[in-house]
């Protein structure tokens, strides 16, 4: 490859060089920005579950208790079969947090309560706005949801009754930080919740619940394993399993997903067609214009490989420069826009909204603000695409210019 020749050539046709670079820059900018937004949407869908520290939530649909009084399990929170729990834990090498979710229904109103294990308490610890975490083995300590505490005028040191047992409030949890997935009025150590549930006649009427059982699994799982595990859980628990993840949220929140998928299609179409058409046209034009130039090089004894390399290098310089320009532009756009906000309407089975209680309507919409991040893989893919399509376009165009060089030259 002859650098001097290459530079001379680019400077000789500045219009073409600029047009090609700018087209590739625009295409790259669009691609990177759109992929960043699509990424943000994807991250946004993970957010509601991540606020309880899970990538997936496993539940089982159950029956309706004979009476709605005292400790009851919400409809999507049937007791999970102990062997099923163990098999799911084995699937993900123990990255599972067991929990018990329940309501305590009284004529005066109702309380939602979540019993979590040590890791769950660790998580809540980071959401405390006042006080400290309950000791896991302490008999009667609990955390209160901030909104609930304010509504009832409770503070650290107050007592609250759940299932007829008194709990001392050791801390107040910031509702904004805990999110809306399995938000509870009262958070307590798992063993306490298990004890309350096992003693409840309404639970006992439906399930053989012992103090070792649970009705909710929070699974810490990576994005790429969700599909496989969803499948496995359905095999283990059967058709009544309720498996929630960013995937199910995607299905439940058609609007958001639709937008992001459309964006992906839009992006792919715009970038792919636009960039390739521009590059192909530019290179085809340039190679056609230079059909004789290629023939001259052949006539001067340039091996075909050297000619091809020269033309490919020319286009790659333009493509590389364009991609670089587009990347800088995209970064500027990302910094300028900063973040995108999405509203997610959570399905009722992971908020456990008591649909039978009109006065207890819970706002199930979760607002998520996702900072736009630099999508490194998308950038790499864009560069690779720019380089590959350019190289391909030149090779296509150059290949056609190879035949009959002498007659291209003897036309006069």
């Amino acid at each position: 490859m002859q650098l001097r020749y290459l530079l001379r050539e680019l400077l000789h046709r500045p219009g073409r060089a600029v047009a090609t670079s700018v087209s590739i820059a625009l295409a790259s900018l669009l691609a990177i920005a759109a992929l960043a937004v699509a990424d943000a949407y994807s991250t946004g869908l993970q957010q509601p579950l991540r606020s309880v520290g899970a990538g997936m939530i496993v539940q089982l649909t159950g029956g309706i208790p004979p009476k709605l009084e005292g400790i009851v399990f919400p409809h999507p929170n049937a007791m999970l079969p102990p062997d099923g729990v163990m098999r799911i834990e084995a699937e993900v090498d123990g990255a599972v947090r067991r929990a018990v979710y329940m309501w305590d229904i009284a004529p005066s109103g109702f309380i939602s309560a979540l019993g979590v294990d040590v890791k769950g308490l660790d998580r809540l610890d980071s959401s405390l706005e006042a006080g400290r975490r309950p000791a896991p083995e302490a008999s009667g300590e609990a955390l209160l949801d901030g909104d609930y505490a304010r509504r009832l005028g409770k503070t650290v040191g107050s007592t609250v009754a759940v299932g007829g047992k008194a709990f001392t409030v050791t801390g107040i949890v910031d509702s904004a930080l805990t999110g809306k997935v399995f938000r509870a009025d009262v958070y307590m150590p798992l063993s306490r919740a298990q004890g309350l549930a096992a003693a409840s006649p309404q639970v006992g009427a439906l399930y053989p619940f012992t103090p070792n059982d649970v009705n909710l699994l929070l699974v810490d799982i990576e994005h790429e394993n969700i599909e496989r595990l969803t499948h496995r859980v359905r095999e283990i628990l059967g058709s009544k399993a309720v498996v929630s993840s960013e995937m199910s949220l995607r299905d439940a929140i058609e609007g958001v997903f639709f937008l992001s998928r459309r964006m992906g299609v839009f992006l792919a179409t715009v970038v792919g067609v636009f960039a390739f058409a521009v590059i192909l046209r530019a290179t085809a034009t340039s190679v056609n214009e230079r059909r004789t130039e290629v023939a001259v090089l052949q006539g001067l004894g340039w091996p075909w490989s050297a000619i091809r390399m020269q033309l490919v290098a020319e286009t790659l310089v333009l493509a590389g420069f364009g991609a670089l320009l587009g990347t800088v532009g995209a970064l500027a756009v990302l910094v300028f826009v900063g973040a995108i906000d999405i509203a997610i309407d959570l399905p009722w089975d992971i908020t456990s909204t008591p649909h039978f209680l009109a006065e207890a309507q819970v706002n199930r919409q979760q607002l998520v603000s996702i900072p736009l991040e630099v999508p490194i893989p998308a950038m790499a893919a864009t560069w690779a695409a720019a380089v590959a399509t350019s190289a391909l376009a030149v090779l296509i165009a150059v290949g056609r210019a190879r035949a009959s060089p002498w007659h291209a030259l003897s036309d006069g």
Partner: protein
């Protein structure tokens, strides 16, 4: 026979079903000046294209500098053009983005490495030889037809080829300029001992040639 630099044995060339050359046999002596004549469309350019190795013959044997062309691959054919065969066209065909000097040195840049210092010096002296050293830094767009052809001749000669193929090199030039360019071609080829194969319609030029090859009905007639 030791002096033969080009030899064709019953060479045929067809484009599709059209047979342009129907059995051409000839030989060209090293350092000689051969004029190639014939009617338009008779196959003169095709003959030169075969000798340059840019077109493969359909049949027959074609030796250039002792090697048979049809047995050479792209790499050795381009080497042949780089080292043994120079070419000059009616249309000059200088690279428009490069200066006169860079055009002349271009054949030496074929091997993916930068031209050597010696190549640049050789290009300079060739430009001087064709009277174009003052315009070394100019691009083709700034040169007249005659000047462009001088540069093209310098470019064809930079590798000191044993053969120079010229396809109507004065076709685009006015008479006086054409004469001057022909003189230049003749003298430089003679000085370098280069065989000159030139397609021309000009009978005056043919008269000056060591041999004339006339192509008619796809065959050649030596005069």
């Amino acid at each position: 026979m030791d002096q033969t630099i080009i030899r064709l044995e019953d060479v045929r060339k067809s484009y599709g079903t059209v047979e342009v050359l129907k059995g051409v046999s000839l030989s060209v002596e090293a350092g000689s000046f051969v004029a190639v004549t014939g009617k338009s469309g008779s196959g003169k350019s095709t003959l030169l294209a075969l000798i340059s190795g840019l077109e493969p013959p359909s049949e027959g044997r074609l030796f250039v500098d002792g090697r048979e062309i049809s047995e050479m691959d792209d790499e050795s054919l381009s080497r042949l053009r780089r080292e043994t065969v120079g070419i000059v066209f009616q249309g000059f065909h200088l690279i428009p983005s490069l200066t006169a000097l860079e055009n002349v040195v271009l054949p030496m840049a074929a091997r993916r490495k930068r031209p050597s210092r010696a190549a640049w010096e050789e290009a300079h002296s060739l430009l001087a030889q064709v009277g174009m050293d003052r315009r070394a830094g100019h691009k083709p767009g700034a040169l007249s037809g005659g000047e462009k052809q001088r540069v093209a001749i310098a470019r064809a000669l930079i590798s000191r080829p044993k053969i120079l193929l010229a396809d109507e090199p004065t076709g685009n030039l006015d008479e006086a300029t054409g004469e001057a360019v022909l003189d230049l071609l003749g003298t430089t080829c003679r000085e370098q001992g280069t065989a000159l194969l030139m397609v021309t319609h000009d009978t005056d030029i043919s008269a000056r040639a060591d041999a004339v090859i006339t192509i008619r009905d796809g065959r050649n007639y030596h005069a």
